[in-house]
Structures are given as C-alpha cells and as structure tokens.
Point group: C2
Chain length 189, copies 2
C-alpha cells in the first residue's frame, strides 16, 4: 500500500463534478476541488492540464472505441459505412446506466462557455483521430476528413438527443437514425 490513496484522478473528477454542479464552474477553485479529494492544488495540476480538463478525463479510451469500430470492418468498406461502424462501436461506451451521469455532466458543460469550447475541441480531436484511421485504410483526402467530421457531427447530434429527458432509445439506435438522416441530406439535390 502506498502512502496515498490510489485513483487520484478519478477522485478529483468526481469531486469536481459535484462542486461544479453545486456552486458552478467559475464559483469553484481548483484548490477547492483538490481539498475535497484530499489533495492539494499542485497535485490537481499534475493530473490535469487545466481546470476544465478534469471533466474530460478518460476520453482516450472513447477515441479508441471509434477506431476499433473501423479496424474491425472488412476491407473495401465504403467510407461512410466505416463511419457507421465506428459509431456503433463508440455507442457501447454509453450504456443506459450512464445516462444520468452524462446528463449531469452535460448540464455543467452547457452552463459554461469555456467548457463548451473544450468540448468542441475534444470532438475535433476525435474527428482528427478518425480521419487518420480512415487514411490508414487507404481513403484519400479530403474524403477522410469529410467522413470523419461527419461522423463526429452525427455523434454530437445523437448524443444531445440521447440525453434528452423524453428519450429512451439506446445511443446506438439514435446514432443510426441520425446517420440515416445525414445520408438522405447528401442525396437530396
């Protein structure tokens, strides 16, 4: 056993979410979050690049889920079908049990512009990673980037819908529907 409790980042994230929810993002200092997790401000910034980052802990695995969906598809699959596969794979990261947590987290993000900014950035990073994966499969530019950005947009729209109070479908179902709508748009001239 170490001198410190394990999972410092996890504890910081949970403490941050609770404090942000209770007293707002701006009304919460990094030192306060650290104290709630039994740590100091300095340690907080050793785990996260900045105060906002604490809400985006664990996004790498999420990106890996997108890539895994593409990697598992058979050779010769069309770009937008690869995107469909990556969406289906990523949706498994958000089972229905996680919906309440996602709603709370999103409410905090929606309440602060700088957090929305960071969220957009993370979505853009996701699109960049997916585009790279598509390029690895031989898809050229700008097709790879366009397909990847489209996938990110579909995920974003689907996630927002999935979180709504009156929504009960799974994220996978919602995402499939949104993707279908996008395809209809592309054909309509």
């Amino acid at each position: 056993m170490g001198r410190w409790q394990p999972g410092a980042a996890q504890r910081l994230q949970q403490a941050a979410l609770e404090l942000f929810d209770r007293q707002g993002f701006d009304g919460t200092t990094a030192a306060e979050i650290a104290e709630a997790a039994g740590l100091t401000q300095r340690t907080f910034f050793r785990h996260f690049r900045d105060k906002r980052d604490v809400l985006f802990f664990g996004q790498e695995e999420f990106v890996r889920a997108f890539r895994a969906g593409i990697d598992a598809a058979p050779a010769g699959t069309a770009p937008m079908d690869l995107v469909a596969a990556s969406l289906a794979s990523a949706a498994t990261f958000f089972p229905d049990e996680r919906r309440p947590y996602s709603r709370l987290r999103q409410a905090v993000i929606d309440g602060n512009p700088t957090l929305q900014e960071r969220e957009r950035h993370k979505l853009a990073e996701l699109a960049t990673a997916v585009a790279a994966t598509l390029r690895d499969r031989g898809i050229g530019e700008p097709a790879a980037t366009l397909a990847a950005e489209s996938g990110a947009t579909v995920f974003d729209v689907a996630f927002a819908q999935w979180i709504r109070p009156d929504e009960h479908r799974s994220l996978a179902e919602v995402a499939a529907d949104v993707l279908a709508e996008l395809r209809d748009l592309g054909i309509a001239r």
Copy 2:
C-alpha cells in the same frame, strides 16, 4: 475630435497580430498589446473578452455573409443547396488579396492550441447560426443542424486548402469542389 483616436479595437487587433507573429502568443502579454496600440491593459479587456478574442474580431459580419447567401436563395431550395449558396456568399469575404493576411493569421493560430480551440468554437457558433437560418426556412431537425455542420466542415477544409502555398484557385472554387466531394461521400454506400 475626441480625446482618443478612433478604431481602438482595430488597432489592438493589428498590434496583437504583429506581436504574436514576432514573439509568439504566450510570449506576448495583453498589456504589451495595449501599449503598442497606445492604450492600457484595462481597455484591451473592455474591447475583448480575453486575450484570444483579439484575433477573432469582426466575425459577426462573416456569419452574416453565410446567412445572406441562404436568405437570397429561392423558396423550396433543398438544404444542401442552401448550404452551397451560403458558402458561395461567404467566399466573397475572402478575396485573393486577403490570402497573405489569412496565411499569417492562421500560422499564429496553428502555433497555439488554445487559439485552435477558440477557432473551433467560432466555427461551431457559425454552424449554430446557419442552422437557425435553415430552421427559419422551415427545415426541421436534425436536418438543419446536420446541413449546417456539414457546411461549416466544408468551409473549414476549403479554407485550409485555400491557404496552402501552392493553391491559386479562389476560395469559392475550392469550396465548391470540396462540397462536391462531400456529396459523393453521401451517396456512396
């Protein structure tokens, strides 16, 4: 004649771009920019919400160009054709004379992650505004958001291409080509 020179925001933006180019974004303080423009740090923050914002001065007119393109289209135009119209309209905001300036500005942005973050945010704001305009024309959700986000993506990709050293086509031409590629993607199953 007032006590102060007019166009403080303009002067601040120009001074900022020069200083960022010469000594980097992080290596330039807000007080320094203000001083170069004959003002003080406090005045800088009365014109701009934060240090990054100085590089995005005048984006409202840019957004208006997008909306104008949609408003000018005849009734019954399909969503993606409205997007095409808005792109064509917005492209007039970037005549070839502006290319050197755009290149310099983009180089500064590319050199700093937080500036990229802000740029993504501005692009998202643009998409939100375009989606609202589409909704005003009777287009429902999620079609309006999907079309608007697609338009923003096309603009982003086209702009990046337009800025390249070996690119000589106009932004309107590049954007039309990228949009055509996106449409090809949508049909491919």
